[in-house]
Symmetry: C2
Subunit: 233 residues, 2 copies
């Protein structure tokens, strides 16, 4: 109808993002229409097209609003160069992320959408790349802690820290992936410590090593050309 004040406009934008979370979660991103989102917010498509260029932009803004807090949670960590119990820090970080997911309804909705209610194709390539970058920076943090663990002596020198980081990422991602399908905050909160403790214990007991099995302990000559060669036939 009429123009709103700046604050009210910002509120409508938030309302649209809230509606997008609900509608995307219920109908899927591709299957949901912008009219659905607008109507869920008590508005019309005009409001949506005023605040966002198209559906992809709306989706991107929705993701940003939920993942930026998570980014800061990880980036705010100290340089991780002088912690005395790096594996303990790693475990606590994992638990913290899971507890945060268990307590933040917005994060739950967005993760449910990203995991199960959206198709990552060309039009969402920008969002996908941003997620990729965030994941990479997070992985660097984990690798730094793992290498610190090597220095401290909690892990052997030839630990494949990159692989261990991939394993941790896969574990946590799988937990969140499955949990958002049937959210039970109490259960996740109760089981998160045991989950992470189990993973860290496995990391200590059977850490993945570099130069896995092939190119065995001491073959004839190490005349591999590429340098960054995979190793497995």
């Amino acid at each position: 109808m009429a123009r709103k004040t700046r604050e009210e406009a910002a509120e409508t934008r938030e309302a649209l993002l809230d509606a997008a979370e609900q509608v995307f979660r219920a109908k899927g991103v591709a299957h949901a229409t912008l009219a659905d989102v607008a109507h869920a917010a008590g508005l019309t498509r005009g409001a949506v097209y005023w605040h966002f260029r198209d559906k992809a932009a709306l989706f991107e803004a929705m993701c940003d609003r939920a993942t930026l807090p998570m980014e800061t949670m990880f980036d705010a960590r100290r340089p991780a160069a002088d912690v005395e119990d790096p594996l303990g820090v790693l475990r606590d970080n994992g638990v913290r992320v899971l507890l945060h997911l268990a307590s933040d309804a917005r994060m739950q909705a967005v993760f449910d959408v990203v995991f199960h209610k959206c198709e990552f194709t060309d039009d969402l390539a920008a969002v996908s790349e941003r997620h990729q970058q965030e994941d990479d920076t997070c992985q660097q943090q984990v690798i730094a802690l793992l290498e610190r663990a090597v220095v401290v002596g909690d892990l052997p020198a030839d630990t494949d820290t990159a692989l261990a980081a991939d394993a941790m990422k896969a574990f946590m991602l799988g937990i969140m992936h499955e949990w958002v399908r049937e959210p039970d905050a109490a259960r996740l909160a109760a089981t998160a410590p045991a989950m992470m403790a189990m993973f860290i214990a496995g990391l200590k007991a059977a850490p993945p090593r570099r130069a896995p099995l092939v190119a065995a302990a001491k073959p004839r000559a190490a005349r591999v050309a590429g340098g960054t060669h995979a190793g497995a036939d």
Copy 2:
């Protein structure tokens, strides 16, 4: 144009499923049109509507063709009641699944579609429930092996086998989820044993226990109001 023989008709059906894998993977299930699938197979929409009721039926058939082999792979296992090294069997089973994924291009395509290129909403509810059932039967197999491990003495008596099974499911699902994004068959094949060994080692070293933390061992008083309270500040 004309009628084909029964065998040729079956071949065109397979060709349509092949095309669906490619097109769904490239454009996403919701964003892909049946004309795309038909054209990718060198046919028209008429052929699609002859063999499948609609897009959901095509998707379901595509999933079945790829996951049924996996089902048999798990169901063909022996009753798991008298194995002498249940955790070893569990580890080998996990490795086998990962190796199978690394070597089967069809399974890779379908998993990529299911994980990243499709929206599980109402119209695909049937497929989602079937996946759920398959997962449950698989989980029962894992739990059976874990309880066998308790009997054998590899795990303590109060091991939370259901939670451990959830952890394994999350771990494997996370590995596959991430791997299909950037498939590298050699790398997955090379790292799968170390991954599974690490998990089993963690299971042995720090198995999750029942009656986790709440109703705790012996704190002052368990007078938390909510009942389903998180517990970890």
